[in-house]
Symmetry: C2
Subunit: 173 residues, 2 copies
């Protein structure tokens, strides 16, 4: 029988192991886990998540942009089989992204390119709960935003993704 | 008192948690952890490492290239403070990369650019045990290799990095 990692187990890890375990909660950015090391022990998953979000918020705009840019493009991600995690497969399948028509796929590519050209970073959305139609509509809508608003929105989506990933990792307290 | 995660603890994790825990062993490529899920329980860290390496080897050249390209550039990595992990800081400090002179830094940038232009992927080396001098010499030397040889060498270095990261995460068996 398998189960999730418990918070006491996580709290008991040495620094390197703790950072390694939480290294992928925020894409390619284990520094977030390092920033909260000193705040252990955490007594709930939301408390841990809040501490990690606060660590990102405490960083300057440049570090936050680096975090955003560490994410792959949505349609590119779906297209490259090797990059899809079991979780992403489930999420993107849940959002119907694996059943894009060629036209929808082309539309996603076009929107990705326009988005990247306008803002200089990839479009990020926590896809759980979305459909491919709602994602395409959302991208078109968010393309109208200012760069500042979009940088903020991408961070909010990243926090949500981190919340989902922590939920996958840790047993409820 | 803190310690490392034990193999029995790792073996007992459910699929999503197992993949999350091992998600950063190979840069931005949690699919490697997914491929070995079915082979649990593992009875030693080397056995787990071998299984993960075999999963990468079983992939085609394209997926392996994607894995290689998921790595940041060495000097760029050192330069962007927000991307440096505690572990990388220790490693790069161990290799003296935080004490580059402006000339050495410029040389690393120049070599990175030439390397990327020639091969189409970033230079990868497991820096533990290296000095900045040996890294610069190694880059210049590896620039002479064929693309095929360098793709193989980058994979070998990635396997070594994965071995170090597993060692940080897991208690010895």
């Amino acid at each position: 029988m398998t189960s999730k990692l418990t918070l006491p187990q996580l709290n008991a890890l040495d620094a390197a192991a703790f950072v390694q375990v939480l290294g992928a909660i925020f894409e390619h950015s284990p520094w977030v886990a390092e920033r909260v090391l000193i705040q252990r022990p955490f007594d709930s998953t939301p408390a841990l998540h809040s501490a990690m979000v606060a660590a990102i918020e405490a960083e300057g705009s440049e570090a936050q942009l680096t975090l955003i840019r560490a994410h792959p493009e949505l349609a590119g991600k779906a297209a490259v089989r090797g990059e899809l995690t079991e979780e992403s497969t489930r999420e993107q399948s849940g959002a119907g992204l694996d059943r894009c028509t060629p036209l929808e796929f082309a539309e996603l590519q076009r929107l990705n390119t326009r988005y990247n050209e306008k803002f200089g970073f990839p479009f990020i959305v926590a896809v759980r709960g979305h459909t491919r139609h709602s994602i395409i509509a959302l991208m078109a809508q968010r393309l109208e935003n200012s760069a500042q608003a979009e940088q903020g929105e991408c961070l909010q989506q990243i926090y949500k993704i981190g919340q989902f990933r922590l939920g996958d990792l840790l047993a409820e307290t």
